[in-house]
Symmetry: C2
Subunit: 203 residues, 2 copies
DNA sequence: ACAGAAGGCTAATGGTATTAGCCACGAAAA
DNA sequence: TTTTCGTGGCTAATACCATTAGCCTTCTGT
């Protein structure tokens, strides 16, 4: 029985492709084993189990999403919000399994995942600074932005929108709304003064 | 062996409670059977299987969400958006399992589920009309609204926000943004004329 | 060359859904 | 009151799935 030449990164990468095909929740050790022509228990030499495999895919996914968004945001100086938003949606459409994996909070012990999450957060906060938003305002704004984008792409993924032909236009509208909101943030503040205190790292 | 007195509605209702405790994805025939003190195959006399049970819970959930939102929106005439948004979030927080079940597109054959979904949509469109939004504008606005709310509550549910203490405030901010956006909808329109044509029923 | 670690394997266990087929209860009909 | 028969329980069996234990081969470093 020749060695299959597996390793944790290889197994996780294979699992990531499977997750994109069958969905993150449909990811199974049996499918991964079959993909590599190996018996299921053999995988335990490289991952601690299904949960650990999912964590690995999740870490990989967070890194990929961060890279995709950073790439989108770096490409332009004008309309950075739009570029990042479109990169976010594109990632979710092209990698539905990875996108779902992205939503699991990364294992704090996983250096790479935490770093990728932090990089993503930094990029968003830098963009918020372009709008003049810092501190708690930046936190609130980031939450609103992430909520809107995540809500849109996840509803789109489950077929929550009835008219497929118009989805691009609806997304453009949503991005416009977000841009308007960030521009007008100060004016629309209920009463809190802006930018008070340093922001605790948040997601 | 005395009859347990089960029926489809009873089984589905029990499943709904379990789903709220262990999550919609953690819902299992075994758990439902144990709850009613019955063997697993007995459930097949009332539901066609796990998928069908999920569909039943989903239909029930859509009805419950529609009722909660309608109740919230009826309570006030001013700040109807805020009332409905808070009702939406409250439902998601109090019934995490049902909320997740809500996201599955209802079986078109299920009269009640379709009616509940339609009622919910009607309520939202009526609110959009208060903002002067109809037709494709109402569709786009509804999608944005739903995206933002769904995104927020689902991120909140998975612990996506790091600072629990501030979440209420962030949500209030999000609602404020949405209200502003709906008020200013026409002004922020890229180029499309408003209210062209009747809206196809959408979600 | 050899020892030991590493990476495959089979076997066994337990949880899950599903199907087939049996049988008792209980209500309605005779 | 008795009989019938559909309904709603049940057990048994099958097929996945994940996980653990323990074996044995292969590679690698001394």
């Amino acid at each position: 029985m020749p060695r299959a030449g597996l390793s944790r990164p290889i197994v996780v990468a294979g699992a990531a492709e499977i997750a994109d095909q069958v969905g993150f929740d449909g990811l199974t050790l049996a499918a991964v084993a079959k993909r590599f022509g190996v018996a299921v228990p053999s995988l335990y030499k490289h991952v601690r189990g299904l949960d650990d495999l999912r964590s690995g895919v999740s870490a990989l996914a967070i890194g990929a999403l961060a890279a995709a968004i950073a790439r989108g945001g770096r490409r332009t100086t004008k309309d950075r919000l739009g570029a990042m938003a479109r990169a976010y949606r594109r990632f979710a459409v092209e990698h539905p399994g990875l996108y779902t994996a992205t939503l699991r909070a990364p294992d704090p012990a996983d250096q790479e995942a935490v770093a990728a999450g932090q990089a993503l957060l930094d990029a968003v906060f830098a963009m918020m600074a372009d709008y003049g938003l810092t501190g708690t305002d930046a936190v609130d704004a980031t939450r609103s932005l992430r909520s809107a984008l995540h809500g849109f792409v996840s509803l789109e993924a489950i077929g929550g929108f009835g008219l497929p032909r118009d989805v691009d236009r609806s997304f453009a509208r949503l991005v416009r709304i977000l841009d308007d909101a960030l521009r007008a943030w100060g004016a629309s503040a209920p009463r809190a003064p802006r930018g008070r205190g340093p922001s605790s790292p948040d997601r």
